[in-house]
Amino acid sequence: MRLRLEPRREASRAMLYGTPVLAVALTVLAGILIFSLMGYDGLAAIYQIFVAPIADPYRWQDLFVKAAPLITIALGLAIGFRANVWNIGAEGQYIVGALAGTGVALATWDMQGYWILPAMVAAGILGGLLWAAIPAFLKTRFNVNEILTSLMLTYVAVQLLYYLMRGPWRDPEGYGFPQTRLFSEWQTLPTVVQGTLVHLGVPVAFFLAIAVWIVLSRTVTGFQVRVVGLAPQAARYGGFSARGTVWLTLLTSGAFAGLAGIFEAAGPFQQMTPQFSVNYGFTAIIVAFLGRLHPLGIVLAGMVLAVSYVGGENAQTALGLPYAATGMFQAMMLFFLLAVDILVRYRLRVVVPADLSRPVEARHPPARQAETGAHVSSTPIDKQRESLSA
């Protein structure tokens, strides 16, 4: 008896949604094994990483606050990824958005009024949007690969951040330390649940998830994005502009990243510092794919990553597990997700030993092979994966 991978006629929807769960389960099993081999209590480690943050109501605020920027950025990215537009530079748009909002905050530092925070948020959105407009322009005008330009602009954004922190925007009362003043109360995000850290960015992230879901599944624009990604030829035939889609998706993902940036600056940070960049823009790519590019999946994926961050710190204090072990844990989750992905389009079949006695031809009928060759992916996500591997 042996196991054989067999192509499916159609991608399995059950597996499409089941594999992330399976990946998490496999990660937990492998984690128990590895942490035990390292000499720690494997079960306790998994408990601290995966269960403790959820079991302790005091930790929930941390989960929401950590997940909100990841979800917001990932939602914007997913729109682009569905249309085969690869914005890898969300980190840069996140930073520039936050910087634009910070600029407004510093200019209005000694002012009061309810208009200040909305102005900061608007500047944040605009900043992210404009930073994403550069790759969009280069792509549509000169056909420059947006993966390269958006990624490289991230490093430009980081240098811009360092420059502003060290010189023009440095806190004049801060003993020369490179960071801005603390924002005033008119410039900080209100908390939505009193007595916790849960700021306005959290409900906004959830609201955006629902909005993106509706737009993608129920509107012509959403249809356009999906068709351009799935079948560019058909889209052109249908009158959808590929160029317009590039602009639309890049500007949207840039705006989302910029919004997340200014929320993070005006919320948890309450100032701008050179340490502002913690790679949320890159982690959000993982969140987008872990969530299957589906808005609600992204919300779940964002929460799962937040749990692993907060739980990783739990494991350090409770068990003395090294930081690297928690990084390994996150990496394993992605590894298993990619590994079990194969089950979406293939199935495991047990080959009965009796089969071995039959002629080879009978076990591999030509018709079946032809069928495999003609296999067409049937969901947008499959299409995405194909273009990823290509």
Partner: protein, 359 residues
């Protein structure tokens, strides 16, 4: 707690506010004193965080089962730090050491929420009723290695791998350069910033670039041994950071500035145990043993060792001040006239470079 439902927790602001205090108090009643440590780098950096962790181990050894120490490593400066510090406070740590400048605002924020928990923040400037600050005069050690650099360098050009241009780092660069110029008036220091405290790949690249530009001695204000290893490969001299790093570069490593936080941690924990902790503000150096100099490499000639010891002992006794005038800045303007020194208040916010620094 199990009887509280989600709504009560989330909406009942009183309940959520009281929660940390309740849990904190519950944990404090019996058993050992819990002491928390927050590190910016991994404890295996062999630099800054490593030195703090060695001190934590010393304190744990000293007090035995009277205390239990808990630490979190590699904590990003910002909201992540706030979360970690709050978590340590909530888990019943009554004294928490936050060991990086970027943990300052997070520490102050959390301290407000936990008035009965005591905090010790390293290298910052904000204090509160339950937040003390502590720092070390690392620039004194920089003056010692600057003296060695001035004597050992043939090109008269040192490379300096800098992390982030905060006053502490600026002080180090200036003290190093001034000391080297006492030996060789034409001595210059070329600085490359890597914008991180711990990034071995970037640190090594910076060191190599500096060596390519003709620097024959490397100093670093980043936490990994990578610049030393680069120096070892290229056959130039270098200095260790925060702990004795001779194992990483037996030929290049002349000496290292070592951080010895152990006695201070033991003092503060003892005060906490006795119920006598109060927020302080210390800035100790070579004299108190907080800043040390690792054993000299045998490669160093006797006269260099002697000169270095002279500076070290002079600083400890107060005869030598690393920032004694005359000092001119990069533009040639005399900032400190002969006979004066830079006072502590100005040193704390130092943001200009002395002549000979190329940054």
């Amino acid at each position: 707690m199990s009887r509280m439902n989600r709504r009560q927790i989330l909406v009942g602001s009183a309940a959520t506010l009281a929660l940390p205090a309740l849990i904190g108090r519950a944990a404090a009643q019996d058993g050992p004193l819990n002491v928390g440590f927050v590190y910016v780098g991994p404890i295996g950096d062999y630099g800054w965080s490593h030195a703090h962790d060695e001190a934590r181990k010393k304190a744990q050894e000293h007090f035995g089962d009277k205390i239990k120490t808990n630490y979190v490593e590699n904590v990003a400066e910002g909201p992540d730090a706030e979360r970690v510090i709050r978590q340590l406070a909530q888990q019943g740590n009554k004294l928490i050491f936050t060991t990086s400048f970027g943990f300052m605002n997070p520490t102050i924020k959390v301290a407000k929420q936990f008035p009965d928990v005591h905090f010790e923040h390293a290298t910052g400037y904000k204090t509160a009723d339950n937040v003390g600050i502590y720092n070390a005069r690392f620039y004194e050690g920089r003056a010692v290695i600057g003296t060695i650099a001035g004597m050992m360098s043939k090109s008269g050009k040192a490379g300096y791998v800098g992390s982030v241009p905060i006053p502490e780092v600026v002080r180090g660069i200036n003290a190093f350069t001034l000391a080297a110029q006492k030996v060789n008036p034409d001595f210059t220091t070329q600085v490359v910033w890597v914008n991180s405290w711990y990034d071995p790949a970037k640190e090594a690249d910076a060191a190599k670039a500096l060596i390519d530009q003709g620097c024959d001695i490397i100093s670093q204000h980043t936490d990994s041994p990578a610049p030393l290893q680069a120096a070892e490969q290229r056959g130039v001299y270098a200095f260790g950071q925060a702990s004795n790093m001779i194992d990483f570069a037996p030929k290049a490593h002349l000496t290292a500035i070592t951080d010895n936080w152990g006695p201070y941690y033991i003092d503060q924990i003892q005060k906490q145990l006795d119920g006598e902790w109060a927020p302080g503000n210390i800035w100790w150096g070579i004299e108190k043993g907080l800043v040390g100099i690792a054993p000299y490499n045998d490669i160093m000639p006797a006269d260099v060792k002697e000169a270095a010891d002279k500076v070290k002992n002079g600083i400890a006794s107060g005869e030598i001040h690393p920032f004694a005038g005359p000092i001119t800045d990069q533009s040639g303007e005399v900032k400190v006239p002969e006979g004066d020194t830079i006072p502590d208040e100005q040193l704390l916010g130092l943001d200009w470079y002395v002549k000979g620094v190329q940054s």
